[in-house]
């Protein structure tokens, strides 16, 4: 369990990083937090010639306020996201999801952007980013940037809209100030990847759900957004009965995996239960 030999590059600016990627092409791998890359290298499932470490690029770290949005640098660690008041005030769903990621050691190494680009469907940040309608800023060769909506970002298992030679630089999240939020995660042991999890954030008006956003973790090859459930929730009273009815079909059309932790039928069942619990908690009911 020792990686094959590789060269190591540690640029200090995004431009330098992009240049390194341009130079080495598909022989390069980007090191963000390393929580997935290093095990892959150690098991020799991948043997890149060059590892480009983004850990020394200050521009990619931290959270700032940008009017209607908060902007999170892609290399901001889970721990930093978790500790950030802007996130907890305007995107509390993300805070709550990040709080469930693994253990403190991993949260201090792993990064939000690294996890999003790795796009493991059992990872915990895809669903909240999707539910919050985030925009993802991608820098490409030559330094030009483009913005991808979260809906378009996750393409398949371990595959996102970030192409070869590109870097995710920022996650822009529309402020959901005053929205209730809850991340309901089902695991067998505390530090496990999600078997299924549901991210829900809700704006309530006088006991009625005015708006709702729901994202699903590990219910398919990518994080999923449950738009029909979101629509069904609007106008419903924040009661167990009403929410139960509104979310009943959340698993329809999903294709969750069957593995050692549960078969797909069980996951579909869990999704319904967890969605109800998540929405209820997010609605403060």
């Amino acid at each position: 369990m020792i990686p094959a030999s590789f060269d190591y590059v540690a640029p200090t600016t995004v431009d330098e990083a992009l240049a390194a990627l341009a130079e080495h092409g598909d022989d390069a791998k980007v090191l963000a937090g390393g929580q997935s890359l290093l095990p892959i290298l150690r098991m020799r499932l991948n043997a890149p010639g060059v590892v480009v470490d983004l850990g020394r690029i200050p521009d990619l770290q931290g959270v700032c306020d940008d009017g209607d949005h908060i902007v999170i640098g892609a290399m901001t660690t889970y721990a930093a996201v978790l500790a950030d008041d802007l996130v907890s005030t305007h995107a509390s769903l993300l805070s709550k999801a990040v709080a469930t990621v693994a253990d403190p050691q991993i949260r201090h190494r792993g990064t939000l952007g690294g996890a999003l680009v790795h796009a493991d469907p059992a990872g915990d940040v895809g669903a909240p980013v999707l539910a919050l309608g985030a925009e993802l800023v991608v820098a490409g060769p030559g330094g030009q940037t483009r913005t991808v909506t979260a809906d378009d970002f996750f393409e398949d298992l371990f595959t996102t809209a970030v192409g070869e030679g590109e870097l995710l630089t920022q996650i822009r999240i529309p402020k959901h100030t005053g929205w209730g939020a809850h991340y309901e995660k089902f695991v067998r042991v505390s530090h496990q990847w999600s078997i299924v999890a549901v991210a829900a954030t809700v704006r309530s008006e006088g006991g009625t759900i005015a708006e709702a956003r729901v994202g699903l973790t590990n219910m398919g090859s990518t994080p999923l957004r449950a738009v029909s459930v979101e629509n069904a929730l609007v106008g419903q009273p924040a009661t167990d009965e009403a929410i139960r009815a509104a979310v009943a079909s959340v698993a329809d059309g999903t294709n969750p995996p069957s593995d050692l932790n549960g078969d797909s039928d069980y996951r579909r069942h869990l999704a319904t239960v967890l969605t109800r619990r998540a929405v209820l908690a997010a609605a403060g009911a």
Binding site: M1, P39, R188, V189, S190, L260, N261, D265, Y266, H269
Partner: protein, 846 residues
């Protein structure tokens, strides 16, 4: 008086060193050593057609590459079959490096030695091995059907077939008014110690001597095996177990291929060589345990007494049987627990599969046996509508029946004879601790909140402290320092503390003056090893006997010096003094000086011991004819049989009515390991055992696919319970001393994990109302069982129907429950009839 040491819950002497990073584990040694790495088979069953190392020889830093062809003499012969047995008719062992054929994924094929592990692994990746794949046998059912064979010359994949019978089971079964058959299934798990295996060897060319270190549970065993393999005199081989980061059984197996190859290569190359197992290697090339299919047929009377117990089981022994059939033998004998069936027969088949070999893992066959017996007890109680604890009590061996001889042969080939135990008292304590008799109210309160809870119970007896022997050596230096040595090894159990407690108590010295060394063949060449919950019993008693010898010698020398009778002396805090006149005294350090008359004075203590110091009797030799110089003593303890500890566990489990999540709300333990040397360490052992048992009950399994690939060979996929999943263990003790040894102690190392799967199954079953026959169980599997139960595929427990009727007396049982019998009249099953609580009926091999 000296503070009471034996029996005191004192803190572990080794902990400050171990928890502050002062431990010296195998990989902390040998920083100048070359590194070994292995090319391991990626296939479960294949012929090795060709090995092409040409791409690796030029890698800079590669020192040597070895295949089986390179292994001379005994090194290239099959590894030893450590524990032969007459019924192990088809024992097979592997080679240190595969010869012609591989029989499991992970089997070593090529060894690379290089300047460091990075280079060694780079070279491994460049070695091309061509395989011709063979049919793969994975799973007990496939092994049993015998269509494909693991070893061509082992028909039916049967390594061993063994039957033991006491009484006339056929006749007793025929007479019994009630019968049940249960089909049960326990999956594989593994020890997974925090530190994997590791070997480091140095060859001293000037002295023609080998020193090796191994992360082992038996340094004497490894030493003997390596000397035999390498053709070296035993005196030219030293083996040391440094600090070992957990073993749990996997490190009692020896010699591992690496334990032979690393010293062999170090000698050949003339440089130190080290190999440290990585986690993936540990999963695919160490050892697993547990996997069994069981069929229990039981005949019992109206009171629930077992008249006849007929057990068949099929044991997955993996690809090879180097450790013999210890595990299934233990299952077949320890299955009986605290009970005395009228007649008992156990027949087992130990079967080869193309998976990692199976050797003892904490519990060593007992968790499986306990599962079979305890599931049976619960089924009897349910069938008769009796209280589960009461049925157990009616089958108990009673204290006045001790010693109780089951008429079977235990794992050491000696009679299975319980020495002591008070099972009714243990059960009474357990019922009080868990609130057994109040559980109906507890359940009603939970149900009123929409929660499902269940109460489970499991009892076991554990043969501990098997022979043949261990030794203890004690030497007191002139400083008063007490050196204690025993040959068995430590893997973190607290031996430094408990052995020091025994010596402090026996000798009358301060605990801090006692220094314990374990597992070093230079200090104690005669030893067996640390397994079978035997260290405290075996080495503890040997050390106590050695201490008594040293004490007698010290008193004799002191009596001469003080001109009093030895009977008038006592030893307190390291000082020998006259009883009633404590100012007339002499320190043990001074006694040590007197014990060793010297010619040369090199320090103050020595000066006092020279021939011209003090008074001497010119008519006597300086060392008497019947004496030896030095204040030291040695003794061995070799018991006639094992001593049997016991325990009873109960748990309250909650199952989520919607998600089928399983939570342990309370876990209660009554534990009886005889006289306790250190109750805190015993509790720690019990807690750790329960944690490991919870892993086995709810999380751990070795997920092999049909091609023999282990799908969860990492801690990302192989789930173990964290602190967050392990319940608070509420433990209480009973101390029924063993009459077999001087200290009255019994082993405690494995106890905690033995009944956990049985207890959790019992509690889940109680919560759910349908039988649980297969462990471990996940929420997904429980949810699926619920579906099948609702669909009529899985029957209800009688008591669940009864409870349902009781709650809603106007409603008939749901037709889907598939059990027409009224719970008021217990159902019985004809002997040849369908199973009552069974899962799927399985074929028996012809």
């Amino acid at each position: 008086m000296t503070t009471q040491m034996f029996g005191a819950p004192i803190r572990r002497k080794e902990d400050p060193r171990l928890v502050t990073g002062g431990g010296r584990y195998l990989d902390d040694l040998g920083n100048d050593a070359l590194a070994a790495a292995f090319v391991r088979s990626p296939h479960a069953h294949a012929r090795v057609v060709d090995i092409d190392a040409s791409g690796a020889v030029d890698v800079e830093g590669v020192v040597a590459i070895y295949t089986h062809e390179d292994l001379p003499g005994a090194v290239g012969e099959p590894l030893p079959l450590l524990i032969p047995h007459p019924t192990l008719t088809h024992g097979r062992t592997g080679y240190a490096l595969a010869k012609d054929e591989v029989n499991h994924v992970g089997e070593p094929v090529v060894m690379v030695v290089a300047t460091d592990r990075y280079v060694a692994e780079d070279a491994c990746q460049r070695i091309r091995v061509t395989y011709e794949q063979l049919p793969v046998v994975v799973g007990i059912e496939k092994a049993r059907d015998g269509e494909a064979l693991v070893h061509d010359d082992v028909p039916g994949n049967v390594a061993a077939h063994m039957t033991q019978e006491v009484g006339d089971v056929e006749a007793a079964m025929a007479r019994a008014p009630h019968h049940l058959t249960l089909d049960l299934d326990i999956e594989r798990s593994a020890c997974t110690p925090m530190e994997g295996k590791g070997v480091y060897a140095r060859w001293d060319a000037e002295r023609d001597e080998l020193r090796m270190y191994s992360s082992t549970q038996t340094s004497t065993g490894v030493r003997a095996a390596v000397a035999a393999k390498l053709g070296l005199p035993l005196q030219k081989v030293e083996c040391i177990a440094p600090d070992v980061g957990g073993g749990f059984g996997v490190k009692i197996m020896h010699p591992w291929p690496e334990e032979v190859l690393v010293p062999w290569a170090a000698r050949l190359i003339g440089q130190p060589v080290k190999w440290v197992e990585d986690r993936r290697e540990h999963f695919i090339s160490s050892a697993h345990e547990r996997g069994q299919l069981q069929r229990v047929t039981v005949g019992f009377d109206d009171d629930g007494r077992v008249l006849a117990l007929d057990v068949k089981f099929w044991h997955d022994n993996g690809a090879y049987t180097p450790y013999g059939i210890i595990v299934p033998i233990i299952t077949s004998t320890q299955l009986l627990g605290p009970y005395k069936p009228g007649a008992y027969r156990c027949e087992f088949w130990s079967l080869y599969t193309n998976t990692v070999l199976v050797t003892p893992y904490r519990g060593a066959g007992r968790p499986q046996g306990c599962f079979a017996m305890e599931r049976t007890m619960d089924s009897i109680a349910d069938t008769l509508g009796l209280d589960r604890a009461e049925v157990r009590a009616r089958n108990f061996i009673l204290p006045e029946e001790m010693p109780y001889d089951h008429g079977l042969l235990f794992q050491d080939g000696r009679p299975l004879k319980y020495d002591s135990g008070d099972f009714p008292a243990s059960l009474a304590k357990l019922k009080a601790l868990v609130g057994w008799d109040d559980f109906a109210a507890y359940r009603a309160a939970a149900e009123a909140e929409g929660r499902k809870v269940g109460l489970g119970i499991g009892c076991y007896v554990e043969g501990t402290g098997v022979g043949p022997y261990e030794g203890g050596h004690i030497q007191i230096e002139t400083s008063g320092r007490v050196n204690v040595s025993t040959g068995l090894t430590s893997q973190g159990q607290g031996h430094e503390t408990v052995f020091a407690q025994i010596v402090a108590e026996e000798l009358g010295v301060r605990l801090e003056d006692v220094h314990v060394t374990t597992g070093d063949t230079r200090r104690m060449p005669y030893a067996v090893g640390t397994f079978a919950s035997r260290a405290a019993v075996m080495s503890g008693n040997a050390i106590a006997l050695a201490a008594r010898n040293v004490r007698a010698k010290a008193l004799r020398i002191a009596a001469d010096a003080l001109e009093v009778s030895p009977d008038d002396l006592e030893i307190v805090d390291g000082t020998v003094r006259v009883k009633g006149a404590p100012t007339t005294s002499i320190s043990l350090g001074t006694v040590s000086v007197l014990s060793n008359p010297l010619r040369y004075a090199f320090d103050e203590a020595a000066r006092a011991a020279t021939q011209f110091a003090g008074t001497f009797d010119p008519d006597k030799p300086p060392v008497a004819d019947d004496d030896e110089p030095g204040l030291e003593g040695k003794d061995f303890y070799s018991p006639t049989q094992a001593t049997f500890a016991n325990g009873m566990h109960a748990a309250i489990v909650e199952t989520d009515p919607v998600t089928a999540e399983i939570r342990i709300l309370r876990y209660c333990v009554i534990h009886d390991c005889g006289t306790m040397i250190n109750p805190m360490i015993v509790e720690g052992q019990v807690h750790g055992g329960v944690a490991q048992g919870v892993g086995g009950a709810l999380y751990e399994r070795m997920a092999y696919d049909e091609s023999g690939q282990l799908l969860n060979a990492s801690f990302m996929d192989f789930l173990m319970p964290y602190a967050s999943e392990v319940p608070t263990v509420e433990a209480d003790h009973l101390e029924t001393p063993s009459p077999l040894n001087p200290l009255g102690i019994k082993g405690a190392g494995e106890a905690g994990c033995i009944p956990v799967s049985a207890v959790i199954a019992s509690a889940i079953e109680d919560a759910e109302g349908f039988p649980i026959t297969r462990m471990p169980i996940s929420p997904s599997e429980l949810w699926d069982l619920r579906r099948r139960h609702a669909g009529g595929e899985v029957p209800s427990l009688h008591r669940a129907l009864h409870r349902a009727l009781h709650r809603a007396p106007h409603r008939a049982p749901h037709p889907g429950l598939g059990r027409p019998t009224s719970p008021a009249t217990p159902a019985t099953t004809p002997r040849d009839g369908s199973t009552t609580t069974a899962a799927v009926t399985k074929e028996t091999p012809a």
